[in-house]
């Protein structure tokens, strides 16, 4: 298990997740001249991050660990008199190691790698995710290293997935760079085994078993493949099929409204309307979501069936629209009548396991203080 480090110019205390750990051997490194201390067994990438630097990591998802295939995280290390270039996600940190993350040679190397990847991708101008939601991890790297799409002769572009009617996951493999993050998250983390790699080299592609559509595979539509994809080759069909532009997309960190796990989500909004959800990777749920959080956490909010006005039931059993003032006057009047004629215990309040704690707090206080009864319950029994 890789640990978090406390690092930087002040190194008076060393802690792991806020608690000092005994028995750990600590290594001293310098990253671009910044001193950093990390536990034995850490990777060079951990030291780089903890020193406050970033390198592109196109094939790396911390949840499944390093695979060292994209080579974008290459850094120059100097230790014990030897100098070499290593993939920082796989190489172990060593004591007295000096790390250079952005030497001219390394920068050139990353740019060339990106341009080679671009030469086998469809035009960045038509990337659905980039256009509709915003820059991908890959886009950020391309921008940082000023990589050009036409630097190399065009290579064979991967083919989009064959006709696949599922309503959730769009597979534009012409943006696939064969980083295998999607297959790793599906097989190693979710253990769903819905997708795998087929073929080798330039002919390799992401494949569902027997070439089936996802609906006929073990896919549970948790959407984790979409969320780990660094290029937008996989995207949320519900989001990218909307008429939206990335320039106007905002994000709000909140919590999934379904079960008691409480996964962090980010709601995507556009012109005051919710257009989709993505996992909040900074939350304790570490980016995990299930089919409900990914694909069902927001449409009900914008449903046409939402209640928009207070309603009062008329004689005959039908509802009519009412103003807040009228509705609340009626409610408070009836409550007061019931208290006067039958006593406070003739009233009952039921709170909700679905609404915020603050509203629940007010509901029980309302029952106890405004009505004068402890007849307050919630649906934890049902």
């Amino acid at each position: 298990m890789v640990v978090n480090l406390v690092f930087g110019e002040i190194m008076t205390s060393v802690s792991v997740n806020g608690k000092v750990q005994g028995g750990t051997k600590w290594l001293d490194l310098r990253v671009n001249g910044v001193a950093v201390q990390c536990a034995d067994g850490s990777r060079v990438l951990d030291a780089v991050k903890d020193a406050g630097f970033e390198v592109p990591t196109l094939c790396y998802d911390e949840r499944v660990g390093p695979q060292g295939t994209c080579r974008m995280c290459l850094v120059e290390v100097e230790v014990n008199g030897r100098t070499e270039q290593v993939a920082s996600c796989t190489a172990f940190a060593e004591d007295e190691m000096s790390v250079g993350t952005h030497t001219e040679e390394i920068r050139d190397y990353r740019k060339t790698l990106l341009e080679l990847l671009l030469s086998e991708m469809a035009s960045p101008n038509t990337n659905p995710y980039t256009n509709k939601v915003g820059p991908t991890e890959f886009d950020h790297a391309v921008e940082e290293y000023d990589a050009r799409w036409d630097a190399f002769p065009r290579l064979k572009v991967r083919e989009k997935a064959a006709h696949d009617e599922n309503p959730f996951i769009q597979r534009d493999y012409d943006y696939c760079i064969a980083c295998y993050r999607c297959t790793n998250i599906c097989n190693e983390w979710e253990q769903a085994s819905a997708i795998t790699v087929d073929g080798r080299g330039q002919d390799s592609s992401i494949f569902t078993f027997f070439g089936n559509e996802l609906m006929d595979s073990p896919c549970t539509f948790c959407g984790q493949c979409i969320n780990t994809c660094p290029t937008g080759a996989l995207s949320d069909r519900k989001v990218v099929s909307q008429d939206i532009s990335a320039a106007d997309v905002d994000r709000t960190q909140t919590i999934c409204p379904y079960c008691g796990v409480g996964c962090g989500i980010e709601l995507l909004t556009h012109d005051g309307e919710i257009i989709g959800a993505e996992p909040d990777f900074t939350a304790p749920s570490r980016g995990s979501l299930c089919v409900k959080g990914q694909f069902a956490s927001w449409e009900f909010v914008r449903s046409e069936d939402r209640l928009r006005h207070p309603l009062i039931k008329q004689a005959g059993g039908t509802f009519r629209k009412a103003s807040w003032d009228e509705a609340l006057s009626l409610v408070s009047g009836k409550f007061k009548d019931a208290i006067e004629t039958e006593g406070p215990d003739s009233l009952v309040c039921w709170a909700s396991a679905r609404v915020v704690t603050e509203a629940n707090y007010l509901m029980q206080k309302f029952a106890r203080v405004a009505l004068g009864t402890n007849n307050i319950d919630n649906c934890s029994r049902t």
């Binding site: 919590i255 409204p257 709601l267 009952v348 039921w350 396991a353 915020v356 402890n374 649906c379």
Partner: protein, 566 residues
């Protein structure tokens, strides 16, 4: 949960009982699968061959409602083979001797007979659990609690934790996985007839005095009534007015006809919700509320982690956040509050709720979610409970509990046992997942899952419409043949109430301590429906796509009797 979600990935042994984790808590199941990958043993105790059994070292397929004999027998083996944690028992528990005597009758052979399993399954589970302890985690959910002996089921699991000292240590614990996003928070906030915020007992004068001082109002002394009792009182005419916030009781409660009858019996019903749910349709006044994505506040999750909920969009039309509506209601009742925002409410709540004492919006925004108890601003929160002493302040009491069969068991007239639960892509009463496009492809409508051999005996094929009736009601539903169901046991969810109101059928029995309904067991009979029209299935699909709420009678004459029973 006594421990935390992430800890489940690090444990050496997982005992999962009455939890269809991959479907009801998919993200927690990932941690379980990871534990298995890291070498942990996983024992799944469940009557159905649920998906999680694919990862299990052992699937103990007990009969519905035989949890207590199984866990008592596990304790029996641990004690007789002297595998228990004597230090823990001596220093942290009480009642061991009586418990040890009590479980003597639950020999592996005796319990295996009741549970419909082999004695070896009990012995092996006991040895493995004890060998892994204290790093052995027990997880359970409504398969344990939704029984008429639910609280005793929980105690029988707790006994195992006390016996092997798996409480108060990391990667262990006795962990209920909570079903709804903020069921924990509703309890924390004091929405319990016996408890003020922070689980402080309303009937203790000292506690009441603290709140009376803080709120500046006298408080009612006597405990309130639970939902189940309230519904009985409604029918008896003793409840005059009911205020329901965000609950679709008519559909979610057992023996739904009873719930509906109860709510129809009160003089005045107010429902505050985001949709005109089946329950809201019965109301005299409906108040339109903001959804989670339009609300400011917090949710508390299963591992006691309080996390910020933030508004992304404004509510539609004139709908308002629940907090605003309630504050206005206080004013209308002549008890105006100084609080104006959700943050003000949270500040007041933490001032009277010691377990929330160190939490603030500033901290939650800065540090992310924090697990209670969190006493003060310097308290990092609590990853696992019961560290040096039990949070109750008392030692852990062993509970000698006995087997209590479900209140209703199959008989000649109603020969099948129906159990209910969730499916991954539908949720609860379907008010939310029912409106997500594409989901109709995953689970298009309600299905009665039954064993193919049972189906063959009745001459049923996959997709046949069947009538499922109990002593309380009848629904029509399509049959789904699956090996998941053992013979004699059938399964339904309750996510498609507009067509299949499953809880018309479920039992009206409930746990005599917590009043949790027995959703997990009722006797039913099954017959092929005379109404096999393809139109019904097409209609089911169309309705769901349109998101309309229609009376089932308009579509399914076969269900027409229901109106008559109201």
């Amino acid at each position: 949960m006594s421990n935390s979600i992430e800890e489940l990935a690090e444990t050496d042994f997982l005992l999962v009982a009455g939890s269809n984790t991959t479907e009801a808590h998919p993200v927690i199941s990932l941690r379980m699968k990871r534990a298995v990958k890291n070498g942990a043993k996983l024992v799944v105790v469940d009557p159905r061959k649920i998906e999680l059994t694919n990862w299990a070292t052992r699937h103990v397929q007990i009969k519905v409602g035989t949890d207590i004999p199984f866990f008592n027998a596990v304790a029996n083996v641990i004690i007789n083979e002297e595998l228990q944690d004597s230090w823990f028992i001596q220093h942290r528990t009480e009642g061991f001797e009586a418990f040890a005597r009590h479980v003597q009758m639950y020999t592996p052979e005796y319990s295996a007979e009741i549970c419909g399993i082999t004695p070896e399954e009990i012995v092996d589970t006991a040895r493995e659990f004890a060998a892994a302890a204290p790093h052995a985690a027990i997880c359970y959910t409504l398969g344990i609690t939704e029984h008429s002996c639910g609280s005793h089921n929980v105690q029988s699991l707790g006994n195992l934790g006390l016996l092997c000292g798996t409480l108060g240590v990391p990667n262990a614990g006795v962990n209920p996985l909570r079903g709804q996003n903020n069921v924990q928070g509703a309890g924390d906030a004091g929405c319990i007839p016996t408890d003020l915020p922070g689980y402080q007992k309303v009937e203790r004068p000292g506690i009441r005095a603290i709140f009376e001082e803080a709120w500046g109002e006298p408080l009612p002394r006597r405990r309130g009534i639970t939902k189940i009792t309230a519904m009985e009182q409604m029918i008896k005419g003793r409840v005059k007015a009911v205020y329901v916030m965000g609950e679709n009781t008519v559909v979610s409660d057992p023996h739904a006809n009873h719930a509906e009858h109860a709510l129809r019996s009160v003089d005045f019903l107010v429902v505050q919700d985001i949709f005109l749910t089946e329950t809201a349709q019965l109301a005299d006044v409906v108040l339109p509320a903001a959804a989670f994505a339009e609300s400011d506040g917090t949710f508390a999750n299963s591992e006691r982690r309080v996390q910020r909920v933030r508004p992304a969009v404004p509510p539609p039309g004139e709908a308002r956040p629940d907090v605003d509506i309630l504050l206005e209601m206080f004013a209308r009742m002549g008890k105006p509050q100084e609080m104006k925002t959700a943050k003000d409410v949270f500040e007041e709540m933490r001032s009277v709720t010691p377990i929330y004492g160190g939490l603030s919006y500033e901290r939650l925004d800065r540090e992310g979610g924090i697990q209670w108890p969190c006493g003060d601003e310097d308290d990092p929160g609590t990853v696992y409970l019961h560290g040096d002493e039990f949070s109750t302040g008392f030692p852990g009491f062993f509970a000698p509990v006995d087997h209590i069969p479900p209140a209703e068991e199959p008989d000649q007239e109603y020969p099948w046992l129906l159990t209910t639960g969730r499916r991954r892509s539908t949720y609860h009463t379907g008010t939310q997942t029912g409106k997500a496009t594409g989901f109709e492809n995953l689970v298009p409508h309600e299905m009665l899952e039954l064993n193919p051999m049972d189906a063959a005996e009745m001459g049923l094929v996959d997709g046949d419409l069947v009538d499922v009736s109990s002593r309380r009601g009848k629904v029509t539903v399509s049959a789904r043949l699956t090996e998941k169901s053992p013979r004699g046991l059938v399964f339904m969810s309750f996510a498609f109430p507009e067509i299949t109101r499953t809880n018309d059928v479920t039992s009206d029995a409930y746990d005599f301590i917590t009043e949790t309904p027995e959703f997990k067991a009722c006797a039913v009979k099954i017959s092929k429906s005379e109404y096999q029209d393809e139109e019904v299935r097409v209609a089911q699909r169309r309705i769901r796509l349109a998101g309309e709420v229609k009376q089932p009678t308009e579509l399914m004459p076969v269900n027409g009797h229901r109106n008559g029973s109201r």
